[in-house]
C-alpha cells in the first residue's frame, strides 16, 4: 500500500475533471486520478457543440437560454443553477477559445454558431443559432484543448488508477468531511491511499447499465457507486436520456448537429413525422420528445428496414460540401459501421442510452449534499456524475459540454479555496480495508458466475424494461431481474488472479457498481408515477406537478435497500407550463 498527501484530489480526467484541475492546480497542490488516460475520456465523443448566447450570428441572450434549459428539462431544473450556467456560458466558451480551441468561424472571423434541439429565440418562437462548435467533434476539441493546457500547466496525473472508495472523517463537531480516496493501480495491482483536504468527483455517467448506448465501455458509474455505498444520496436517477439518433442496432451516436444542419427524420413511408409531434420546431424538438416520437413510429408499424425497427435520418438533400465541413465524423461512422453513404442514402437510426440527468446532488458551488440542505465539507462533484440540477428531467443538447466547463471550473476553484483554509484531516483507521476486501473477495472467489453473463443480462433487462417507455409492470419485472442478478453476482468469479493489468478484476468491480445504480434507477422510476422529460410512464402519461414537481433523493439503507425521499425544485422566474414545441 502506498500513501499520498495532496491538497486537492480530482477523480476523473474528462472535461469536468480537467477543467477543475486547471483552476485547482494553480492554487493548491493537486492530483488528478483517472482510470484511463485523460485523452481517452468520453468527453471526446461529444460532437455537436456547446451553447452560449454569444449572439455572434443572430440576436440571443442568456435569459432565453435559461428559459430553454428549464423548459427542456420539463421544469425539474433548479433554476438558480440554470441561471448560473447560462450566464457563465459566454466566458466558458471564450476561455476555451483562448486556450486554443479551434472553433469553426463566421465570415467575420468570430466563433460560428448553429442550431440545436430545444434552443430557441425569445422563449420558443423559432430555433436559434446558439451552439458554438468545431465541426462535429466539439467534445474531442474540448478534451484535447483541456489536456494540452494541463500539460502546459504541469498538472499531475495518475493514469489508470481506479478510485474505488471515498474516505470520510468526522471533524471536531462530529460532521463527516472528505479526507481522501482509495485507488487501485491497474499496472501493478497496488492500492494507494490519497489523503486530501478536498476531493472533486468528475467520473462521468453509467450508460453501461443499458445494452444500446452511446457510452464507452468504461462508463460504469464508479463515482456514483462509491458515493452511494457511503450512504450519501443520489438524485433523480430515474431520468436517463435516450438520444434519438444512435446508429440502429449499434447505439453509436450521430449528433443532433445533423438535424441542426437541416437533416430530417423520416419513417418507412418517407414521412417527416416530427411535424405531427412538434409542429413548430419539428426535428429540433428536445431529445426526449424526438426519442419517444421515433419509438412510437416503430411501435405503430411505421418503422423502416426488414424488421421495421428503426427510422431514417435523411441528409441526402444537404450539399456534400456542407456535410463534409460540418458533419465529417458522423457521416464516416455511418459509412464505417453500417455501410451507408449519407450523401445518397438515409441513415438507419434508433434511440440510444446517452446521458444520466441524475447523479450526486450538489449545490451551485459544486459542493456535494448529504441531505436536502447539508453539504459534505470538502467534497465536490461536477459533470455527468453530478446533479446540480441544470438538466432537470431532460438535458438539452450541448448543455453537457457547457455544464462540465462551468461547474468543472467552479468545483476546481471551490475545492482549492477550501483546501487552502482547511487542515489535512486524519484518515480513518485501516483506510484501504474496504477496497482490499473487495479485491480479495473476487480474487479468492470459487464461484461459478461470469461477469460477462451477468452484465449481458443486466443490459438486456434494462433495455427491455426501463428504456424510452416504462410501466409499473416492466419496472417491477426489471427490479426482480436485478435482485436475482445481484444474488448471482455474489457468486461471480474471475479467471485472472494476477496483479498486473488485471482488467478481468476491474470489470467485475465495475459490474458491481452497475448493478447498484441500475437498481436505484429502477426503484426511483417505479416511485415516480408521472411522465416528465426523459421518464415516460405509459400508465401515468401526464406530468403531475402537484405531486411530483420535486427531485427524487435515494439513500442506501444498511441492508443495501433503496430508500426514497424528495427534495424541492428551486424555482426563480419560470412557473411550469405545458411543454409544447
Amino acid at each position: 500500500m502506498q500513501n499520498h498527501r495532496y491538497d486537492v484530489v480530482i477523480v476523473g480526467a474528462g472535461g469536468a475533471g480537467m477543467r477543475a484541475a486547471l483552476e485547482s492546480s494553480g492554487r493548491a497542490r493537486t492530483a488528478v486520478l483517472t482510470k484511463l488516460y485523460p485523452t481517452r475520456s468520453h468527453t471526446g465523443a461529444a460532437q455537436g457543440g456547446m451553447c452560449a448566447a454569444l449572439a455572434n450570428v443572430e440576436e440571443d441572450n442568456w435569459e432565453w437560454h435559461t428559459f430553454d434549459t428549464v423548459k427542456g428539462g420539463d421544469y425539474l431544473v433548479d433554476q438558480d443553477a440554470a441561471e448560473v450556467m447560462c450566464k457563465e456560458a459566454n466566458d466558458a466558451v471564450l476561455d476555451l477559445e483562448k486556450m486554443g480551441l479551434p472553433f469553426n468561424r463566421t465570415p467575420a472571423g468570430r466563433i460560428d454558431q448553429r442550431r440545436f434541439g430545444g434552443h430557441t429565440r425569445n422563449h420558443g418562437e423559432a430555433p436559434v443559432r446558439r451552439s458554438c462548435y468545431a465541426a462535429d467533434r466539439t467534445g474531442h476539441m474540448i478534451l484535447q484543448t483541456l489536456y494540452q493546457n494541463c500539460v502546459k500547466q504541469g498538472v499531475e496525473f495518475f493514469n489508470e488508477f481506479y478510485v474505488l472508495d471515498l474516505l470520510l472523517t468526522p471533524n471536531a463537531d462530529g460532521v463527516e468531511v472528505a479526507s481522501g480516496v482509495v485507488a487501485y493501480e491497474l499496472a501493478t495491482g497496488e492500492i494507494h491511499v490519497f489523503n486530501a483536504k478536498s476531493v472533486v468527483l468528475a467520473t462521468g455517467g453509467f450508460g453501461k447499465v443499458f445494452k444500446t448506448t452511446s457510452n464507452a465501455h468504461t462508463l460504469t458509474g464508479d463515482g456514483m457507486g462509491v458515493v452511494w455505498r457511503k450512504g450519501l444520496p443520489l438524485e433523480d436517477m430515474e431520468f436517463f436520456q435516450f438520444h434519438p439518433t444512435g446508429l440502429a442496432g449499434l447505439g453509436i451516436l450521430l449528433s443532433e448537429a445533423a438535424r441542426g444542419e437541416g437533416a430530417i427524420l423520416r419513417n418507412a413511408d418517407g414521412e417527416r413525422f416530427m411535424e405531427r409531434y412538434a409542429p413548430t420546431i419539428k426535428d429540433l424538438a428536445p431529445r426526449d420528445i424526438v426519442a419517444r416520437s421515433m419509438a412510437n413510429e416503430v411501435r405503430e408499424g411505421r418503422g423502416a428496414g426488414p424488421h421495421k425497427d428503426y427510422v431514417l435520418l435523411d441528409l441526402t438533400h444537404l450539399p456534400k460540401e456542407q456535410i463534409d465541413s460540418k458533419l465529417p465524423d458522423i457521416t464516416e461512422f455511418a459509412r464505417t459501421y453500417l455501410g451507408v453513404e449519407p450523401y445518397t442514402e438515409p441513415v438507419p437510426v434508433y434511440p440510444t442510452a446517452h446521458y444520466a440527468m441524475g447523479g450526486v446532488p450538489t449545490n451551485i458551488e459544486a459542493e456535494v449534499l448529504r441531505t436536502n440542505t447539508d453539504v459534505v465539507p470538502g467534497l465536490y462533484a461536477a459533470g455527468e456524475v453530478a446533479c446540480v440540477s441544470v438538466h432537470g428531467s431532460n438535458r438539452l443538447g450541448t448543455n453537457s459540454l457547457l455544464d462540465i466547463n462551468v461547474f468543472g471550473r467552479r468545483a476546481g476553484i471551490a475545492a482549492a479555496e477550501y483546501a487552502l483554509k482547511a487542515e489535512l484531516p486524519d484518515i480513518p483507521e485501516a483506510p484501504a480495508a474496504t477496497v482490499e476486501a473487495m479485491v480479495a473477495k473476487l480474487l479468492n472467489s470459487a464461484g461459478t458466475e461470469k461477469v460477462n453473463t451477468i452484465r449481458t443480462e443486466l443490459q438486456n433487462t434494462m433495455d427491455r424494461n426501463a428504456q424510452v417507455f416504462r410501466t409499473e409492470e416492466s419496472l417491477s419485472e426489471c427490479q426482480s431481474d436485478l435482485e436475482a442478478l445481484r444474488q448471482r453476482y455474489e457468486n461471480v468469479a474471475i479467471a485472472d488472479k494476477g496483479k498486473r493489468y488485471n482488467s478481468d478484476l476491474l470489470e467485475a468491480i465495475e459490474l458491481g457498481f452497475l448493478l447498484d445504480l441500475a437498481e436505484v434507477l429502477v426503484v426511483s422510476a417505479r416511485n415516480r408515477k408521472e411522465s416528465r422529460g426523459g421518464h415516460a410512464r405509459e400508465d401515468f402519461q401526464e406530468r403531475d406537478d402537484e405531486n411530483y414537481m420535486k427531485h427524487t433523493m435515494a439513500y442506501r439503507g444498511p441492508d443495501g435497500s433503496v430508500n426514497l425521499d424528495w427534495k424541492p425544485v428551486v424555482v426563480t422566474r419560470y412557473q411550469p407550463m405545458a411543454r409544447k414545441y
Binding site: L36, Y37, T39, R40, G44, A45, L94, E97, K98, M99, G100, P102, F103, N104, R105, T106, A108, G109, R110, D112, A134, A135, R137, H140, M141, Q144, Q148, K152, A187, A216, H217, L250, I252, R266, G270, A304, G305, P306, L312, T316, D329, T336, Y337, L338, G339, T344, E345, P346, V451, N452, I494, A495, D496, G498, K499, R500, Y501, N502, S503, D504
Partner: protein, 250 residues
Amino acid sequence: MTAVQERSVSTPTEAPKSRPIEVKIRRYNPEISDEVTWVTYTVDAFPTDRVLNLLMKIKGEQDGTLTFRRSCAHGVCGSDAMRINGVNRLACKVLMKDMPDKLTIEPIKGLPVEKDLIVDMEPFFEAFRAVKPFLITHGNEPSKEWLQSQADRDRFDDTTKCILCAACTTSCPVFWTDGSYFGPAAIVNAHRFIFDSRDQGAEERLEILNDREGVWRCRTTFNCTEACPRGIQITKAIQEVKQALLFRRV
C-alpha cells in the same frame, strides 16, 4: 420522398450470417513467464462485428485473462490501437466483413509490452509533451475571442483530428529502430499549433523539431499516413513542418 421509400426497400432482408474466425493472439505476461506465447481462439463473428467485439467475446466467454485496452469502441478515444494482420489499426474500426477468416493480433510495435496487447504509453506521451502542444501567445488577450478566418482555421484542421492512439508512431520504421525519435504523432501535434494563426510559439517548436531526433529523421515511408485511423495526411504535415524549418516561414 419516393426516392427515400425506394432506398429503404433496398435494405437487405436476410439476416447476415456469422462465421467462425480463428484469432491468433500474441500473449505475454511477465508476472507468470518471460516467454511470449501465441494462443489461437475460435469465435463466431457477424460481418458487422468489429475486431474489438471478437476480443471482448474471447475475454468474456473463453479466457478472462486476455488483456487489452478499450473504451469508446467507435474510433474516437484511441485506446485500442493494435497490429491486426500486420498493420496498425484501432480494433473498434475494423469490421469483420472486410477481414479474412484468420486474424493475427499483436501489440503495437516500438513501445515496451506490459501484458498481452497492452504497451507502456509513457514514452509516446513524453514525446507529445516535448513539442509544447499548447497555444502560446504573448501580450494582451482580446476581451472576446481571437479573430481567425475560416481559411486560417482550415490551415491546420487536419492535424486537430489526432486522438493520440499511437497507431502512426508505432508503424514508423525509424521509431522502431530508434525510440528517441519524436515520431509522427508528436510532429502532427506540433503542426497543429505551428500553423494556427493565433499561435506565437512556432519558433520554439521548430527549434525543438530541428533536433537530431526531430523531423529530419522522417524517411517519408507513408506508414504513418496509412495507419492513421482518423485519415490525417501525416506525411504531408511532416513535410510542411520541414519546409517551415527550411524557409522559417509558416
